[in-house]
Amino acid sequence: MRQVLSRIVSSIITLALVSVLAFAAFNIIPGDPALVALGTEASQEQLDELRVKYGYDKPPFERYFLWLSGLVKGQLGDSFRYHRSISSLLEECIPITLWLSAISLALILAMGIGAPIGAAISSSLEFSARSSPARKKKHAGRLVESLLMSTCAIGMSIPEFLAGILCVWVFGLTLKWFTPGLFVPKSESFSAFASYLVFPAFSIAMPCSAMLCRGLYASLKKEMSSPYIMAVYSKGASATRALFSHALKNAIVQNLALFASIVAFVLSGSIITEKVFSIPGIGLFLVSAVSSRDLPLAQSIVMYIAFCVVLANALIDVAIALIDPRLRRS
């Protein structure tokens, strides 16, 4: 209980720090929001009028606390750029990013857990090589392993934007499995909406699942060669049974922290991927808000992203504590 409380307090402190940084950063960068809004031919009076309207004539301290109090009350104010309330904009774009994240996470789990298990099974004879010397199979196992490791290395080293562009090119323009740019709103057709998101989700999942895959495979291999697995074998269990019933759980626990950072990364939205695939989620809005100096909108989105990251980390901490009894005590 005390642990949960202190976790909540530290999360709130983190968010408060982020709010200071977000506010300061967006107020330090050059570029006058009023000038961007009014364009090149605006007169001084018009500029001043707009600054007063949005409270930009007030000192930064006052503005920060006004913004913060609005944030706490859930009143985010109006966007400069879109002339409407920020909450209505967020209501539209957050679900899109959440769906994209959900599909990405499903793919990451499928690939990042499925692949190492598959590889472990096919090379499981290597783990138990000491009990049954099947040399040919051992050789095949090594091949699977090196294939998996090199695929992971490639997956991890491809930068996000390149992964996106590659997906557009391969699946969209060459194989024609989807139509680049044809984002369909959820309200129009859910299946078209979801199937469009599969490809950007795949490009997000590529590096993340490679990371998870590598981590999990390494842990599995270590577990499978540890003494307790020898004991399992000696009781007559098959390699598959040793893997699923004993090694896997321990291997997963070791990778939960890695998974937490992946969840936080995915939830915070992938700005570049959204841009490459023209998905109107928070990433696309953040880019446009920064370039048009729509400070209230940009600050709100940054706070949302920070909130997601903090929340994901806190939840995983709790989950690890629940799964791993050693941590519960300490």
Partner: protein, 503 residues
Amino acid sequence: MRKIAKATICLTLALAILAIATACTPKPPANTNGNGDDGFKKLIWGSMTEPVTLDPLSAQNTADGRSILFNVFEGLVKPEPDGSLSNCLAQSYEIDEAALVYTFRIREGVLFHNGATLTAEDVKYSILQAQEQSLPGLSAIEGIDANGMDLEVVLSAPDTFFLPYLTVGVVPDGYEDREANPVGTGPFYIASYSPQQNLVLAKHESYWKSGVPLLDEVVVKFAADTGALLSSLQAGVIDGSNVNYVQAGQLDESQFNFTNAQSASVQALFLNNAVEPLDNINVRKAIAYAVDKGQIVQTVFNGHGTLAGSPMIPGLKQYVNNDIADAYPTDIQMAKSLLEKAGYPDGFELKITIASNYTMHVDTGQMIVNQLEQIGIKGTIELVDLATWLSSTYRGRQYEATIISVDGSLSPSSFMSRYQSQSESNFVNYSSEKYDELFSRAIAAIDIDERIELFKQAQQTLSDDVASVYLQDIDSIWAIKKEYSGIVDYPIYVFDFSKIVLD
């Protein structure tokens, strides 16, 4: 434990299969033109920028935004493809001899998108609102009188170029909800707007001009960047867009028609006339002699541009002073000797500030840096984002040199007015009494030949003083699928959707 493991495997496999299945399901080809059996005719137009505002009476909009709203709002007069003005919401008009009083007869039977009928009061309200919002050119209005279908506009000083400013969009009298629910009289009305996604224009069924528009719906779809725009065009998600020559080269010529149009803006290497060493006319002349415009157009733009020698767009043919189009032919020796005369025999360092979102200006900048190197000027390019450019470079005038395209309206004075010494938009800090006098005489001249002559002299002055190095009007290329036709090229930057036909 075993059960959990099995369940995990089944779940992950199921998810993987599901993912692959959804991915592989053959989708019907993107039915983008919507030209189904019901005869509903639709165009999906790609745009890289969103309109900043949907209010025609706000001065905030970008050129792209205005070019789209051209289809939704109309003024008393409307630009025609040949550069002239035709009567639009005005049935007829008269200008008194002193060019002070403009009398309009409003067209009968024009309906707004909300069903209201147009009267002179609506026009009066719109023009006054636009004046309050500082839309260009309207400050000269002293009074407006509306009476039924008659409208009288009185100017404080004679201005023979006033008419083009009355293209300002008309909204219903007292209508304030212009941002959320825009209402105009144009061939299309705004059916919906989803930020970052699209703007839907639907046919105005009771449009006053019969026979147009020919399409039922135009969806303006926003693309996040040039790459997304290009892949959308290639995949057929959008039917047409304004593209640059690089993108045009990557599109399939059997599927698209290309129309070259002038962008109605002049790209220039703007020099801050108030900073050292650019305040020295010989230095500016040396730069003008060193910059090879022809090479820029050929190399950077693959020939898609019209050379310019003054801020006046080449499209306004009768007003352009053709004598100065090539006043400074590339001459490295001449440039070097001018630099020596100015006291910089070894050149100097020059920082060129460019807004990074304009790839074409950045590419041009790199070319210019190479060209200036030949005379010893060490150019460096400083990339800033557009917001910074607007506040520091344009408004704050804190720069040495910059590259941008500057647009205007159909009125020739709109391209020239910023060079007046006291103009708020004189971001090059140009100052010349001779120019100020020529310009004020030009806008007051009632005789058209005299007016043209004075504008030509004003351009000559700018060229003699090398206010900046004017480069070209960059072509904008319209790419549209072959089944569409009816693209009209205007001398100003607009997309006229009303005349586009789908076969």
